[in-house]
């Protein structure tokens, strides 16, 4: 409301400390931050935050923090830690937020590499890790803690209570009038504003250096494109070291002046979400999934009438909800039914989910299942996908309103250019492109071209509507024998979105066609089998059933049908599959600890099965040593079936839509 008039001009106010002063002066009594503490939402106005940051900055200066120094920030999403970031920036120092759940050894590397002189830690847990690291770390001089609990007997001269630093800061400011304002005035947009370490899948973490211009302009562009205002409420619950939180809960909040809310603890996030009802929200797909699961479980326990009502109106929502949200034509009858459904089901549901006020919800990070995605959109929650990375200050592409589909990540964000290499790799260029990797020029040169293009490492293409589709990591993308593109993870994800399929491994690089290994979901298929009175003895038995193969075959053929309509991937239709006799397991080295398939290991271990997949055989004998839960080993012998699957002729997208 009227915020367009007071919205700060990021061209003039080109750093966060300047923006903070602007908010304190122009809208000082509005709420900047809330935190749930002792069961109550405590709040701070912009004027209060500005005062805290000033005192803290002066205190840190008194403690010896200077321009260009690094300040490590470690802990859950606490207001004081966000203020520490701003205070460091006011002094021209560079804040380095660290992942709070990292073990001491992992933390040691980043602290050492960043040469942080001062660390601000949330609590005893983090202080203990720092104390363990400190003897071997030459740079780290001082540690400041927020929560004194359990620390009263720690007697180190270099350990300071946050409160004592504030007091020190007030003294310092009194002794050096004008110091803080002069320091803030010296900051400028081209300076490095923050360093975020990416936990790469391979090698050591890299320190991504982002300038104020990177963060501010990207944040502003996204706000404008989405029409977000100073009235938003957002929940800060994802790690502060992650670029997403830095943009959504810090950068964008300071640019637009909206309110950031910190949950009581990591365990209360879902409760706090429900209580708060944010208007702007980000979550990876797994969070949307767990929120939905809790609702579905409660719904199963609900009374008969409630359950019937829920299912009836959810069917209506699935039929027309997303079309209504996208502003597409819907019949009057459906529109009226949807209204009734909104009153009886969708609104109460959104209320219990914490989405009653939501205006914009993002998801990113991994592919989201179409059913999950459609569920939220059907009840009127505007969930959209974006594609981004630390090196881009988040935004590379965003789904525009009204053009939201589960399988694309949208169109380029404002001022962002995208090009696709012949290899299929996606490159981008734009205002958010990072400066460099700290102390790692080789990696910088590898990731960023002289013209400013950044390699994403992801393979993708633009579809007919100009939307980017990310299909796989570029290094995993191969070619079938006929030269058409083969993206194993894309196929595997498509398969895994079916509830009966838990894991899938697709093969095809250099081969004539695609074949796949399937792991069934023991719980889902087991339930299915019980409902049909199909007795079975454990996973291996169930997996070998003719009926289960039929079930999976339907899923695979559905995937093929989808692929047939896809001009880039129609050649990747799956010709043959088999259901593995055991579940892929991290303990056996077949999956990583984060449950990603280790493709090469699997290919090697199950070489004979792959050969059979590419032969004419309909069964393959297997004999293997398996390890039981109790550690004993035994031999497993069986004839494993291989199924041929129907494939579909490639169809033009228009024909597909008509079908």
């Amino acid at each position: 409301m009227g915020d367009a008039a007071t919205a700060p001009d990021t061209r003039l106010l080109d750093t966060f400390s300047k923006l903070l002063r602007h908010h304190a002066e122009h809208r000082g009594d509005r709420i900047a931050m809330r935190e749930k503490d002792l069961g109550i939402w405590q709040s701070w106005t912009w004027a209060e935050v500005a005062g805290q940051v000033r005192d803290l900055a002066c205190g840190l200066a008194a403690l010896g923090l200077k321009r260009g120094d690094r300040l490590a920030v470690i802990g859950d999403n606490r207001p004081r830690l966000y203020w520490s970031i701003c205070a460091a920036q006011a002094l021209g120092a560079v804040p380095v937020p660290l992942y709070q759940d990292a073990a001491a050894e992992e933390m040691a590397f980043v602290l050492e590499h960043a040469e942080a002189r001062i660390a601000i830690a949330e609590d005893q847990e983090q202080v203990d890790k720092l104390l363990q690291i400190k003897p071997d770390n030459k740079a780290l001089e001082q540690i400041v803690f927020d929560d004194p609990r359990g620390l009263r007997n720690y007697r180190h001269a270099f350990l300071h209570d946050y409160e004592s630093i504030l007091a020190k800061g007030r003294d310092y400011a009194a002794a050096n009038p004008g110091f803080y304002d002069a320091e803030v005035a010296r900051t400028k947009g081209a300076d490095v504003s923050t360093m975020l370490y990416t936990s790469g899948t391979t090698g050591r973490p890299k320190g991504v250096m982002l300038s104020y211009d990177n963060v501010l302009i990207t944040a502003r562009n996204a706000l404008q494109r989405e029409g977000l205002t100073a009235d938003e409420d957002t929940l800060a619950y994802l790690p502060m070291a992650w670029v997403g939180d830095h943009i959504f809960s810090y950068g964008q909040a300071l640019v637009s002046g909206f309110t950031v809310n910190c949950p009581e603890s990591s365990a209360t996030v879902l409760t706090d979400l429900r209580e708060l009802g944010p208007t702007y929200f980000f979550a990876p797909p797994r969070i949307y999934e767990s929120i939905l699961t809790t609702v579905m479980i409660r719904m199963e326990d609900a009374g008969w009438l409630k359950r019937r009502m829920f299912h009836y109106f959810m069917d209506i929502a699935r039929r027309c909800g997303t079309r209504i949200l996208d502003g597409k034509p819907v019949s009057l009858a459906d529109r009226l039914l949807y209204r009734v459904g909104a009153l009886l089901v969708y609104q109460p549901l959104k209320n219990t989910l914490g989405f009653s006020r939501i205006r914009l919800a993002y998801t990113a990070g991994e592919a989201i299942g179409p059913d999950l995605f459609d569920f939220y959109r059907a009840i009127g929650v505007n969930v959209k996908q974006l594609y981004g990375m630390t090196e881009a200050s988040v935004f590379v592409t965003i789904q525009p309103d009204g053009e939201v589909r589960a399988d694309t990540v949208g169109t380029p964000a404002p001022e962002v250019e995208i090009k696709i290499e012949p290899s299929g790799e996606v490159l981008f260029r734009g205002p958010g492109v990072f400066q460099e990797y700290y102390k790692n020029p080789e990696a910088t040169a590898e990731a960023k071209t002289a013209e400013g293009w950044v390699h994403t490492g992801d393979a993708g293409f633009f579809d007919a509507d100009g939307h980017l589709r990310i299909i796989d990591r570029a290094k995993d993308v191969g070619k079938l024998a006929d030269g058409s593109m083969f993206a194993p993870k894309y196929l595997e994800n498509k398969l895994k979105f079916f509830p009966f399929i838990k894991e899938a491994v697709a093969f095809g690089d250099g081969r004539a066609h695609v074949g796949a290994f399937i792991n069934i979901d023991l719980e889902a298929v087991g339930n299915w089998a019980e409902r049909r009175n199909l007795p079975y003895g454990g996973y291996a038995d169930l997996a070998s059933r003719e009926e289960v193969y039929d079930l999976i075959q339907e899923n695979v053929e559905q995937v093929n049908r989808d692929l047939a309509g896809d001009s880039h991937l129609s050649g990747s239709q799956i010709r043959r599959f088999l259901v593995l006799y055991k579940e892929l397991d991290a303990d056996d080295g077949e999956l990583t600890r984060t449950r990603k398939v280790r493709r090469n290991f699997v290919a090697e271990r199950y070489g004979t099965l792959i050969e059979a997949l590419y032969s004419d055989a309909t069964t393959v004998p297997v004999e293997t040593e398996i390890r039981f839960e109790d550690g004993r080993t035994g031999t497993f012998r069986a004839e494993l079936r291989i199924r041929d699957v129907k494939t579909y002729p490639p169809a033009a997208p228009a024909a597909q839509a008509a079908a």
Binding site: K36, D37, L38, G39, I40, R149, G150, R152, N153, R155, E264, S265, A267, T268, T271
Partner: protein
Amino acid sequence: MHAARQIGGPLLQVENISLSFGGVRALANISFEIREHEVLAIIGPNGAGKSSMLNVINGFYHPQEGRITYKGKTRARMRPHQAAAQGIARTFQNIALFKGMSTLDNIMTGRLLKMRQPFFMQALYLGPAKREELEHRAFCERIIDFLEIQAIRKTPVGRLPYGLQKRVELARALAAEPELLLLDEPMAGMNVEEKEDMCRFVLDVNEHFGTTIALIEHDMGVVMDISDRVVVLDYGRKLADGTPDEVRADQAVIDAYLGVSHEETASAAAE
């Protein structure tokens, strides 16, 4: 580790306590003391009389012989609610929570003794009564924060897993601001992580509030780590008492723990 904490004089002295049920002797001539601000562990094999000892201190059982001196005054036969009024709070081996109430309501019951407003004022929720209620609520919130159970504040405790129920029970005991806290097997049935958490809480309580703690525990590692002194009971008798190191070196204790000859008879006899 406990540099700032000063262990003081005796808070509670148990002298020549004997307790029998019918003809079965549960405690025989037991004497020891609990000192201010210390963590005292009572250990012993099953049926050694540990829980009986706690029940005597707490007023659930009345010993036939012996004397209990609490805060310098010899205690007459007393009931559990009187013990509570004098600053003795406890938890139970088998968890005694109000299962139908939420975590917060359970903890609030720990404040009942501190409520002073006449109940017609509470009923009308007027001025001072409202203020009092809010003060107690704020106190309970500090305990919830201290024990990190914010996420289950509104959950009926009957639905909580065992480990969390134990933590809620500790919270309720702390809500009474006890001088002496009796913990009956606070870590029984917990996994390693839960045990570590509970140890940390016990030590934090002791350090933060200066609460004197007497606990019964089976896990020797835990006992040796967190207690200042240890009393060893066996078959209703006291075998030893002293610092963890002294107790570990005591021949009678070693015999009792290694030689299991009379354990069956002991468990048959007591409790």
